[in-house]
């Protein structure tokens, strides 16, 4: 069988299918469960500098082709999170700690305090005031946050980008300039749903982020735009729920992919995708390398 192991974003991964941030990544036990189910690496829930309960409910709404969520970055703060990371690392797969803050210094503070295999900077959550895309929409801010974490941490730094922008490449270039080992694209699209019986926005936070199959074409395009211009690898995320989706994302230029919303179907998704990918590579007599970015090479 063709090998699925890769070196991407400074990490050695047994396969390129990772658990996305914020999905069942609150506890060490659930990170291990994803690893046992076949994830090549796992990203934690985003953690900040102080405990947060997140937004009032409803925190999710199913919409056609996707899911809206506004969790509001609930987390126990990095001070209570090292034990979860450590438990996750015992699974044997790399644990990437997703972190957020409202300034370069706050990001750096967290990165200095935590031990993980890599950091993923959440500069892209669309529904938490003062955090995420409120910083991440500005290339300057992406650059300074990335730079600050680079200086504070001695592990690879991945930067997760927002699609809520006119030009995601600007953001990716900023991350690259500051020394990021990879960019991760995309976080959710800013979105909302309204209860038509009463007029209430359904999410407790009124608006939230759209994920799932609905956003896959936006994610594929974002990865394509980034991967064709950046020198650092791109990790593709957004709407992947089958091996076909993973192949498409890798063809767009992703070195590895992350799976979020599709976990709703169950943990079996990791094995299903990895196996499908392997069968595909075998049938085509291709390697992951051959597949990566194939779409840019197929010119009209």
């Amino acid at each position: 069988m063709p090998s699925l192991s890769i070196h991407a974003g400074g990490l050695d991964l047994a396969n390129p299918v990772l658990l996305a941030a914020g999905i069942l990544g609150t506890t060490g036990a659930s990170l291990c469960r994803a690893a046992r189910a076949g994830a090549g690496g796992v990203v934690t829930k985003s953690v900040g500098s102080t405990p947060r309960e997140g937004h009032p409910g409803p925190c999710i709404v199913a919409v056609q082709g996707g899911l809206l969520n506004a969790m509001g970055l609930p987390n126990p703060s990095y001070r209570h999170f090292q034990e979860e990371i450590d438990a996750g690392r015992r699974s044997g797969v790399p644990v990437i700690a997703s972190i957020f803050g409202s300034s370069p210094a706050e990001f750096a503070q967290i990165a200095r305090a935590l031990q993980a295999d890599a950091f993923e900077l959440n500069l892209s959550c669309p529904h938490a005031e003062k955090y995420g895309s409120e910083l991440g929409r500005y290339p300057d801010m992406v650059e300074s946050v990335t730079g600050a974490v680079k200086a504070a941490a001695d592990v690879p730094v991945w930067v997760k980008l927002t699609p809520n922008t006119a030009d995601i490449l600007e953001l990716g270039l900023a991350a690259q300039r500051a020394g990021a080992s990879a960019v991760v694209a995309i976080n959710t699209l800013k979105a909302m749903a309204i209860d038509i019986e009463t007029g209430y926005p359904i999410l407790g936070n009124r608006f939230g982020g759209l994920s799932g199959p609905a956003i896959k074409p936006v994610a594929v395009r974002s990865v394509y735009d980034l991967a064709s211009q950046l020198e650092i690898p791109v990790i593709g995320v957004g709407g992947i729920s089958s091996w076909e989706d993973a192949v498409e994302m890798i063809m767009a230029g992703a070195k590895a992919v992350q799976v979020g919303t599709a976990l709703q179907e169950g943990y079996g998704i990791f094995e299903k995708i990895a196996l499908g990918l392997q069968n595909y590579l075998e049938r085509k007599s291709m390697t992951l390398e051959d597949l990566c970015g194939l779409a840019w090479r197929m010119q009209h």
Binding site: L24, T26, T27, G28, K45, P76, I202, G204
Partner: protein, 256 residues
Amino acid sequence: MRPVSSIIEEVRSEARLIRTFRLDRDLDPKPGQYLMLWIRGVDEIPMSFSGPDSITVQSVGQATEALFKMGAGSSVGLRGPLGNGFTLKGERILLIGGGVGSAPLAFLGEKARSKGLTVTSLLGFRSKEDIIFQERFEALGQVLITTDDGSYGIAGRASAGLKELSLFDFDQIYICGPEMMMWDVISRTREHGAKTQACINRYFKCAAGICGSCCLDPDGTRVCLEGPVITADRLLESEFGRYRRGPTGEKGPCRG
């Protein structure tokens, strides 16, 4: 699935701070399943079914207080039924309830009775005036009631009533109540763990098996999706009764 709008048809007071809300629709739940109740403008919270079209709620905080301000005719949003629910097994079953946790068991007992099972109930309350659903349970079969203050029935916690029963007589045991009460019972009855189905609580944020806030150590069981009914033998090997995570994900004590 968006929340479905539903009108509260009737509100009944069961005890101090406990009310039953009958909804205008039967969501065809299994006993032990729950719904996410959206109190618009406030929060969305998990509630077990206490009947095919009802929930029985104890007022404990912001959302439940807001609900208690709503009368018949008010509208709420519903998402459900969710979770696995209880599985009926065998001929003779025992229900062990604590406080408002008795509510889903009344629903289960009625289902069991209608299938011809023999139902025995052991119910613990703090005090006489906290007792709920006494008639519902009495209509099902033998009922033992304990009160912490001895104001009714057997004095003591629910586990005090265990002495009156031989658990070997029952094919299946169903338990729901405050975590320490459940822990108290299941840790004393370890040899029956495989036949004891417990309906437990964790902090639910998504109630869709995706966010991770309800996951149990050490195997990461998603209580919102793979629970809330879990057999006692599995619970005994878990964090249950030792700690639980709150809204931030931080570990805390197993209050309630």
